[in-house]
Symmetry: C2
Subunit: 345 residues, 2 copies
């Protein structure tokens, strides 16, 4: 039920017929050279290209799509972020995506679900006949059934799946967290707490597991009261850190599952009159650029978000072009960036 109130663009663009007339060939030939398809004699190819230049002709994509029933745009489905990290993540991901999508001459369609039942939202997307494939960041959501019942190719970013058919590109959250905690252990810390992220989000869960594993492997018992329930928000981290500082046994180091939370934690520590890393060593996750603006500069686990975006775009395009079979799975590795927020003990 779309209102019929759209604007009409002046119908003065040259069409393929004009080019054909100008080059004195048939429109079929013009189409062949436009699409670099079939065989055209060099002489005619040149004439057509000249005509195209002369008339400044650009093919009408709607017509092309209608006639060919082919499709090449990439859709990007994102949740509605509202925090600092969301904005960082989004822009970084976009950098990778755009660096692949635009040089490949694809269109990038942004798709936000604003107040629509999820099924309807995806059905609508599927019926946009010009979208060839999707890149999805789902946060805490599952892959929608409408999607996996369809035959549109999609790759999910920032999550892993055991289902064979689901393509994803993720990041080694577990290993990253493991490395961070191992680093703290290496500095001599034994009382290492964590403020973890939302556990309904995969990355939150995996980072917690990495933390536990690293402690176990170091022969350090995992203490229940050293595990603080966070949700990736700064404010929560502030509260949890404050709580941690009031407990009988105060940790000497804390692994915080995101930089944004590390910010809150650091503030809580300072507000208590304590020092980072003097009293408490801190490691974050993400490598948000603000990390190096804090004092002390935050030691953190960098995740290659841009790279993830780039790879996601490359993959979805290959899937659209059928150059790749579904089932593409990749986990990119993280890197511990050592700065000034941890000390030997």
């Amino acid at each position: 039920m779309v209102k019929n109130n759209m604007k009409t663009r002046k119908g003065k663009f040259p069409s393929i017929d004009d080019v054909a007339r100008e080059a004195d060939v048939s429109i079929a030939t013009v189409s062949r050279v436009i699409n670099n398809f079939g065989s055209v004699k060099e002489r005619n190819k040149l004439r057509v290209m000249d005509a195209i230049d002369k008339l400044n002709f650009k093919p009408n994509i709607s017509a092309s799509r209608l006639a060919s029933n082919k499709v090449n745009s990439v859709g990007l489905v994102m949740p509605v972020y509202d925090d600092m990290f969301g904005s960082f993540f989004f822009t970084e991901l976009m950098k990778g995506i755009r660096d692949v999508v635009f040089p490949a001459r694809r269109d990038l369609i942004l798709l936000y679900n604003i107040n629509e039942p999820e099924d309807d939202f995806y059905r609508r997307i599927l019926n946009k006949t010009y979208i060839g494939g999707l890149i999805l960041e789902l946060g805490a959501l599952e892959v929608n059934p409408v999607l996996w019942k369809s035959d549109i190719p999609y790759v999910v970013v920032n999550a892993t799946y055991t289902e064979q058919r689901i393509n994803y590109i993720s990041v080694s959250n577990r290993a990253g967290a493991y490395e961070a905690v191992k680093y703290l252990v290496g500095l001599g810390h034994r009382k290492i707490a964590t403020i973890h992220g939302a556990l309904n989000i995969q990355s939150g869960n995996e980072r917690l597991e990495g933390y536990k594993q690293a402690l176990s492997d170091a022969g350090i018992p995992v203490q229940r009261d050293f595990i603080m329930d966070g949700n990736f928000y700064r404010k929560t981290a502030y509260e949890k850190m404050s709580r941690l500082l009031e407990s009988k046994e105060i940790p000497t180091a804390v692994f915080v599952a995101s930089d944004e939370m590390a910010l809150g934690a650091m503030k809580a520590i300072k507000d208590k009159g304590l020092d980072v890393p003097g009293n408490i060593s801190l490691v974050g996750f993400d490598d948000n650029p603000m990390c190096s603006e804090l004092s002390p500069k935050l030691t953190t686990v960098r995740q290659p978000i841009t790279e993830m975006g780039r790879l996601a775009a490359e993959t979805v395009i290959r899937l659209i072009d059928k150059e790749e079979k579904p089932g593409f799975k990749k986990t990119l590795s993280t890197e511990l960036i050592i700065r000034d927020s941890c000390r030997k003990i």
Copy 2:
């Protein structure tokens, strides 16, 4: 010269003919009810809608566009940002845009110019026959001639133009800077320096003017060596601030033309062993969320970026729909957010 390697979506979607047959009416009638256009008897309207539901029919947008030569998608042209503010600005703007564009059932096409001559880039956009209008953030660039010679509606964001036909939505940079400096004057400061932004960008220029004007109006002479040439980058601001602190006459307050630069300035001050606001009062511009994470929390000028995005989207849609005549010009006001980085003197 597009390679012919796109994927074909299974051609099993029901068409308008199927609906017409199912509802036992003509395709014209179906089209009328789809577009809510012309007159259709209630009885038939219902039958068509039932048939649409039953078959799960969705119109083929490419066909619709080709036939009607009408168009409703919104294109968003952005520069390639690489700094923190860019990412903040981009996400904030997007928030406003998406909150308008998606409920209005328009598509949002992201357009980045990656290594393409500007003219070609815009010509390509214009020939995307499904883009009805554009929102542009141009940074230091001018409106491209290809664009203003065309008849596509567009609104420029974050800049002002005297040309009558150019639609823009901007922010009162001058007044914002003026208010900030006036505030410093009110606190008793007389030696007020500024680190300004890139002067080839309007906002940079206007903020500098606001600074000068505020001083003049307060009867304070504008001192040449209190005006430091910045470019919105943190690093430059760090250097300029350091320089400022080494000069004979050290200011008691500095108006820094962006929060990102304020970050650099603050660091420079601390690195010199001085205190904010103890020795130097600081005011920023933007109200980047990190402002309230700094210590001291940064006093700054908030600009309504999301609101700008929202208005830009509303405007471009009204222009597409011809509900608005070209020449829409609006400047949104800023707001001084007083936090802890300034003191009385």
